[in-house]
């Protein structure tokens, strides 16, 4: 297990290095290398998670270490899909360091044995966790794309081009990809919330219990719902959409980590360390 984590981190670091080299040198091969190394890293990472799964028999989200690891895995996976589909090479400059940093944090956190509980064998709970994590990973990438969009738009508007102008793709591609990430994220977040409600009903007998995590998830959901609604009705795109995606990601981070660390609630145990 430890060796797998080390291999994973190593692959992510190499991939990050390749993407940074690509940013500066603009050689297409570097970007391809970065992509394949990241894919290799994801394989190691998957093995890590599976080995955790088989050892304990439940989805490894028992403590902060495992939760973050799963989140990084989701970000990496979603990134691979997005890059494959949109050929948005430069996004690696955001995704690769992100997963690397998270995984380094993971490796530094103690792997306290989670208390064995049977709740993670429940279908609804597993669906809830998987959907939420992949959805949040999509939102994370949408946030990254929002930042890239603002950088590029600023370069074009202020007519100060130099470094990033050449290296970033067109505004249109950044916008469309960001939108796609938000659509995917929103769909999965919705699914995640629904499965969560069903699970809550089956365990606690009620759908909603005003737990801080629930409240903040609701806020996150409403935020992205507004973003999508405005885009579909009045055509919110470009700058506004990018800013919203970044704000959304900030709120999401708080929902994901801040709520657990700062507020009390029944999701708290997943981020114990």
């Amino acid at each position: 297990m430890e060796i797998l984590i080390i291999l994973t981190i190593l692959a992510y670091m190499l991939s990050t290095a390749a993407y940074f080299a690509y940013l500066f040198l603009q050689k297409n091969n570097l970007q391809r290398i970065g992509y394949f190394i990241l894919a290799a890293g994801i394989l190691f990472h998957t093995a890590t998670i599976i080995s955790g799964f088989t050892k304990t028999g439940h989805l490894p989200v028992g403590n902060l270490r495992e939760t973050l690891s799963l989140a990084a895995w989701a970000v990496g996976g979603v990134f691979l899909v997005i890059q494959h589909k949109y050929n948005l090479k430069i996004l690696g400059i955001f995704a690769a360091p992100l997963v690397t940093l998270v995984m380094i944090m993971v490796s530094l956190l103690p792997s306290a044995p989670a208390q064995v509980s049977n709740i993670f064998k429940n279908f609804w709970l597993i669906s809830h966790v998987v959907a939420i994590f992949i959805g949040e990973a999509s939102f994370a990438l949408a946030g990254g794309l929002g930042v890239l969009y603002l950088i590029q738009e600023n370069a074009i508007k202020t007519k100060k081009r130099r470094f990033f102008f050449k290296r970033l793709p067109s505004l249109d591609l950044l916008d469309i990809t960001g939108y796609a990430c938000i659509v995917v994220g929103f769909t999965l977040l919705t699914l995640g919330l629904i499965t969560g409600f069903i699970y809550a009903k089956s365990i606690w007998g009620r759908f909603w219990s005003w737990d801080p995590k629930e409240v903040w998830s609701g806020i996150t959901w409403i935020l992205y719902a507004i973003l999508l609604h405005e885009r579909l009705t009045v055509g919110w795109r470009g700058r506004k959409s990018a800013i919203m995606a970044i704000i959304g990601f900030g709120v999401l981070l708080f929902t994901f980590l801040g709520v657990n660390l700062l507020l009390e609630g029944h999701h708290g145990e997943f981020t114990k360390f």
């Binding site: 081009r161 009045v234 055509g235 470009g238």
Partner: protein
Amino acid sequence: MSDIVLVGINHKTAPVELRECIAFSKEESITAVQTLLRQPDLNEVILFSTCNRVEVLFVTDNKSRAISTTKEFIADFNKIPLEQFENVLYIHEGDEAVRHVFRVASSLDSMVVGEPQILGQIKEAYRTASGLNTSGVILNRLLHRTFFVAKRIRTETGIGDRAVSISFAAVELGRKIFGTLEGKTVLLIGAGEMAELSVEHLIRNKAGDIYVANRTFENGVALAKEFNGQALRFEEISDCLKFIDIIISSTGASDFVITRDQVKGVLRARRSRPLFFIDIAVPRDIDPAVNRLSNSYVYDIDDLKDVVDENMEDRQQEAVKAGRIVDEAVINFRQWHASLDVVPTIIALRNKVEAIAQAEIKKTLQSNKFPDSGVEALNKMANSLTNKILHDPTIFLKKNGMLADRSLYIDAVRKLFKLDE
């Protein structure tokens, strides 16, 4: 050993008045290379003639005579006294000539560094020469290396990547905003060479419908016809902003043709799809405040000039990288060219045959038992075989009796015996 020499003038050494007197048309260059090749000292000839340069590249065994022959030929052919242009002629020999050809074809010596046409022009000149058989072993090899170097520079450096004209810069910016220009509608307001050129570039990039608005409707109709577009009345511009993506403006108006409020009014109807204004007019046609509206981008002529300047600078930097590739290629070519000399070829041939003999002796000795005297006899026999086999070819190569082009035979020998590997 024969020498490679290049004699020529270009835009850096001679003014256009002189260059146009010396330029060769396509038909003229056919006669020119044939005439030059008939001169006793020129073994191979290629002639490059573009609007920015006239250069004669040749291979000779007698440099000084060949150079003066060529100079006189240029003067005679163009009926212009030699004194008038002799001081602007440059003469490159050996490595310098090779380097010059590489640099020219890679567009490092061009007026606009990195412009792509020159390579095509050189290829054309080479096709003419090889079709008439005025190029031989050395120039064929040199030109093939040249095309390789030029291609390498184009792919490995960014020398031709960035737009260095106003109209291309506009297209490049459009791509950064829209991704693809395919299907984007274009409105041309007014007329003018630069504006029309931009429209043409956009059309070449598969832009969608073209609209033309002109104060004089008739002029607009005429211009619209050229672009297969549609003419609009000036008053319609406001309305059309709803569906137009790229606006190129070049009118003589003293006031803004498109104001901030006009654009702001259509943003919602456009569902915030981006708008790109290219303002080529002086004084400006588009209110600069439009640039501050969301998803609207305004570039005026100065902004575009800045883009071009930056890109030019980039090209200069890339040219340094390209210079390195050229240096490397010059060294490689020098090695090959030197190998075409007689002595190294004879040595290489002898080494090759001796190596084969030694290898076979070793093999034979391994599988058979010979007494010492037998081994000695075997070695002796191998030596005399080697000498006998090499005798005639060596005499042939050493004698200056080889007809016409010595490099042709040397090249053949090197290829027959695979001496270059």
